[in-house]
């Protein structure tokens, strides 16, 4: 399990990278799907999350298809970050 601090940090990075105006970390549920209805994210947002992971955590995703599992939810991103930090 990713720690709550990392979860919150990831949410802040997402809000910042995707210009989610008027949304706070508390508005994003940890396990809710990021894509689809929720935040209204699209394919450019998915690519932007790849840039965010590289910029903030130094983790590279070469194939965007690999991002599909990683970007399921905030929890899955945080777990992915934790596993690469370890």
């Amino acid at each position: 399990m990713a720690n709550p601090e990392l979860i919150n940090e990831v949410k802040e990075h997402i809000i910042d990278a995707l210009h989610l105006e008027d949304i706070t970390p508390a508005d994003i549920e940890n396990d809710a799907p990021l894509f689809g209805d929720g935040l209204g994210l699209d394919s450019i947002d998915a690519l932007e999350l790849i840039v965010m992971l590289e910029k903030k955590y130094g983790i590279r995703i070469a194939n965007p298809a690999d991002g599909k599992d990683v970007f399921k939810s905030v929890t899955s991103i945080a777990e992915f970050v934790s596993s690469h930090k370890a």
Partner: protein, 586 residues
């Protein structure tokens, strides 16, 4: 009728159209892998000019981009078939990023006039002594075909007799890094329509077609029969899953399957583009026409692509041949279309050129030298041009369109239909204030760059003032915008993101807005407009030139009204939008 008088291609595989065609027919390409070029962290495949080739076309005092365009135009007009110095001859330049590489030079970053496409067009026009004002077509990847469509309409509407249409782009770290951030580049030679395709290759080239009104055309002369630009109204970078815009652009041409030697598709070899095109061609009913693509020879030459690929297609039909799709082996698209990886014979005398691009735009062009077709339409076409000539010369007081509503947005405030709107903020904050006060339910607004926010909010207020029911899908309304500074703010942001090798983070959401036509796509998506979307860049604001283009835009018989105007953004605090709705004057 609009006739093709002459043409030229300068690319890494040839300096004339025939050299290029011969190389393509023989299956040659200059595509190769570049490792560490321009200090980019990732390798890429591209078709680039060698240092020696570049030295051969460089002209003192001109940039690489301008020199390349000039070299191609010079060869295309060498036969003196048109009078370049005539007030009835116009230069139309098709480019996506023109002189953008100048931004990497610190001398230009703070004084970027040289980077502006309108300034480059002026520099090229002055070299030859054009006396008319050039127009830059900056419509992402469809620019080349959109430029030919514009030229055809300007001649048809009797505003000019000749047009020199040049498409050019040179590759730069700016462009390569942007496409890399989109994960759109193939790690190998591209494979259009193939099951294992994994992205596009970039290329550099210039191509020029000289068009003229020619009522007494000769046998075997090529003609632009029809052309259409349509929007997916779906997404600013992802192609429509139903091929909506390309399908509608194809239908707008009125071409019969039996007339066609082939459809030369965009065929970038990205997963989604090729799939989309196959669906559009399938929906349009062209199941038995061979579909080919030329990106496996040249890569994606961007602003040159539409013109270059039209020329190669004309040469192929002249040679009774359908060129193989280099890189294609096994069908990897779902549409019921006919693909081939070997050259094939044809006895047909016309073809369709198809393109699609960011901003949801799509363009199709029907080009023919078929005698039966010529006999069929000769009377109608000549009658139409004669009638337009009469309209233009005998009844100059009758405007071809009526302006219905107007809005002006500056950093200081808003004037809507002659009345000042009450606002408190200035500069960029004014745009957010307007969004919150009048729209509020479209969070995509916050993802837009400043210029797009400006055009978007101006269009929202304008369309609200129109008072009609909104958001019903329609194809009869176009969005046609103009400016001077192109996408300067986004260009600078993207350049800043790649300047430092230790902080090299090009962003797809910034790069996409380095195409100024995205603003027209955003308006089309918001309002479900499937009609034409076009973006033009001028050297400076010019009401009469804008009026000429809008008048010519009504040559598309589907278009009955246009959301039009000037949307220019020099910085976050210096901007100017003047937009209006114009309706066809029936």
């Amino acid at each position: 009728m609009i006739s093709v008088l002459s043409h030229n291609i300068i690319s890494p595989i040839g300096e004339t159209s025939m050299q290029n065609y011969s190389a393509v027919k023989a299956g040659n390409s200059a595509l190769s892998r570049y490792d560490g070029k321009w200090n980019l962290p990732e390798p890429f495949f591209a078709s680039l000019f060698s240092d020696e080739q570049t030295r051969n076309f460089m002209i003192d005092g001109k940039t690489r981009f301008e020199s390349l365009a000039i070299a191609s135009i010079k060869k295309a007009i060498a036969d003196n078939l048109v009078d370049i110095h005539s007030p009835r001859t116009i230069l139309i330049l098709s480019t996506t990023k023109g002189n953008v590489e100048l931004l990497a030079d610190p001398r230009y970053f703070n004084n970027p006039e040289g980077e502006l496409p309108g300034v480059a067009a002026r520099s090229i026009a002055d070299y030859f002594g054009f006396v008319t004002k050039p127009i830059v077509v900056c419509n992402a990847c469809i620019s080349g075909v959109a430029a030919l469509v514009l030229a055809k309409r300007l001649i048809e509407s009797a505003q000019y007799d000749n047009a020199v249409v040049c498409g050019a782009d040179v590759q730069t770290p700016f462009i390569v890094s942007g496409f890399q951030s989109f994960k759109a580049l193939s790690s190998d030679n591209c494979r259009p329509f193939d099951i294992s395709r994994c992205g596009l290759n970039l290329g550099e080239a210039a191509a020029t077609i000289v068009l003229s009104r020619d009522a007494d055309s000769k046998d075997n002369q090529w003609h632009i029969v029809s052309g259409g630009v349509r929007n997916d109204a779906n997404h600013i970078s992802g192609p429509s899953r139903t091929g909506e815009g390309s399908y509608r652009a194809l239908l707008s041409l009125g071409a019969q399957e039996s007339d066609l030697a082939f459809i030369n598709a965009h065929g970038t070899a990205t997963l989604y583009n090729d799939e989309m095109e196959s669906i559009a061609i399938d929906r349009a009913g062209y199941h038995n026409v061979i579909v080919n693509a030329l990106k496996g020879y040249y890569g994606h030459t961007m602003g040159a692509a539409g013109i270059l690929e039209t020329i190669i297609s004309m040469c192929a039909v002249d040679d009774n041949a359908v060129i193989a799709t280099r890189g294609y082996a096994e069908k990897g698209v779902s549409g019921d279309i006919c693909l081939a990886n070997v050259n094939a014979p044809t006895d047909k005398a016309s073809f369709i050129k198809l393109l699609s691009g960011f901003g949801g735009c799509n363009a199709a062009l029907w080009v023919s030298k078929s005698q039966s077709y010529l006999d069929r339409i000769k009377k109608t076409a000549n009658k139409k041009i004669a009638s337009n000539k009469r309209d233009a010369r005998e009844m100059p007081e009758r405007s071809p369109y009526i302006t219905r509503h107007q809005i002006a947005v500056s950093p200081q405030g808003v004037m809507l239909n002659g009345e000042q709107l009450k606002t408190e903020q200035t500069g960029k904050a004014l745009l957010t204030e307007l969004y919150k006060a009048h729209v509020g339910d479209y969070p995509k607004f916050y993802k837009m760059d400043v210029m797009t926010r400006l055009g978007f909010i101006a269009s929202e207020l304008l369309l609200m003032s129109e008072g009609k029911e909104r958001f019903s899908p329609c194809e009869d309304r176009a969005v046609i915008l103009f400016n001077r500074t192109s996408s300067l703010i986004a260009d600078k942001l993207h350049q800043e993101s790649i300047n430092d090798a230790n902080a090299f983070f090009p962003s797809p959401s910034v790069f996409v807005y380095t195409l100024p036509n995205i603003i027209t796509g955003e308006i089309a998506i918001r309002n479900k407009y499937y009609g034409e979307t076009s973006f033009y860049i001028l050297e400076k604001f010019d009401e009469s030139l804008i009026s000429q283009v809008l008048e010519a835009s009504f040559e598309d018989s589907h278009t009955t009204s246009i959301v039009a105007g000037w949307v220019d953004c020099e910085s976050e605090d210096v901007f100017n939008a003047q937009m209006y709705i114009v309706e066809k004057n029936k």
